[in-house]
Symmetry: C2
Subunit: 168 residues, 2 copies
């Protein structure tokens, strides 16, 4: 009668990364239909000192794989951050989803009180697993998923809230 | 050794609504310093067919109070959605936080398997409490918090990710 750490992490991230994949397909079709160079969307950002769409997806996937690997106590897979096309961004999403699904639930369950250490701005931050998941990894993940969606909406791509939330 | 439904809802929402309150204070100070009419920020949106900042905050708070009240099986408090100034938006945040903190944890705990019914687009959607929290209420809440932040960033308000995440 409660939520397991696995339940509150892997399926949540996988669900949203699948939604992001569908959102990117809509964006790609929009670019094709409107004769927009895909890189115009992929490199756009909401403020000159914010990161572009490609980095939003790289950081969202980094957040998901980093969270799950740290909770499970396994090495965080490193991806080179070179994606510059829709196809490459889709690959990034797919390999992140495959990694998340490869981590056994029982390695993540019980990580509520495990100490997670994160380097932020050159110093070590220590969290219990539950606070790391709820106060850091989850809000950070949703930030970058939403930023991706909003960059595309700002560019006129026809998306609605249900594309972000996914099928009920 | 797991997360309670209370732990994954009330403190998460309260934390982010407090962060949003601090973000709005920064926005208000920015408007004052730059001689920007506050309503310019409060009514801005990222696309012509998206909702403005004031509605983002109304929906974020609706999402938090609706989620917690439904999980607890109590009436959802209704707020009139008339906020049009920074002071009124701050009041909206404060009364939502006060409501969230007033709901006893033991009314929320154990709601994982409670059936939550939501009217979406005129039809009833049924979720177990855990899926309602993890797949609907939480992503929807973060969407509107992030949208608020991004509308302000898009308007040049000096904010960083730590303002969104809050103190570690």
């Amino acid at each position: 009668m409660s939520l397991s750490m696995h339940q509150a992490s892997v399926p949540v991230f996988v669900r949203m990364l699948n939604n992001l994949s569908a959102i990117l397909k809509t964006a790609e079709a929009h670019a094709e239909a409107k004769k927009i160079e895909p890189s115009v969307l992929i490199n756009d950002r909401l403020a000159p000192d914010m990161l572009p769409l490609s980095r939003q997806i790289q950081i969202a996937t980094d957040g998901a794989k980093g969270c799950v690997a740290r909770l499970a106590g396994i090495e965080v897979p490193s991806y080179p951050d070179t994606e510059a096309t829709f196809a490459e961004l889709q690959e990034r999403l797919a390999k992140t989803i495959a990694f998340l699904n490869s981590v056994p639930a029982d390695k993540i369950d019980g990580s509520e009180d495990r100490t997670i250490t994160l380097k932020v701005g050159g110093k070590d931050l220590n969290f219990p697993g539950s606070a790391f998941l709820l106060n850091f990894a989850t809000p950070n993940f949703y930030f970058h998923v939403t930023a991706t969606y909003l960059i595309l909406r700002h560019n006129g791509v026809q998306l609605g809230k249900m594309d972000y939330l996914g099928a009920a």
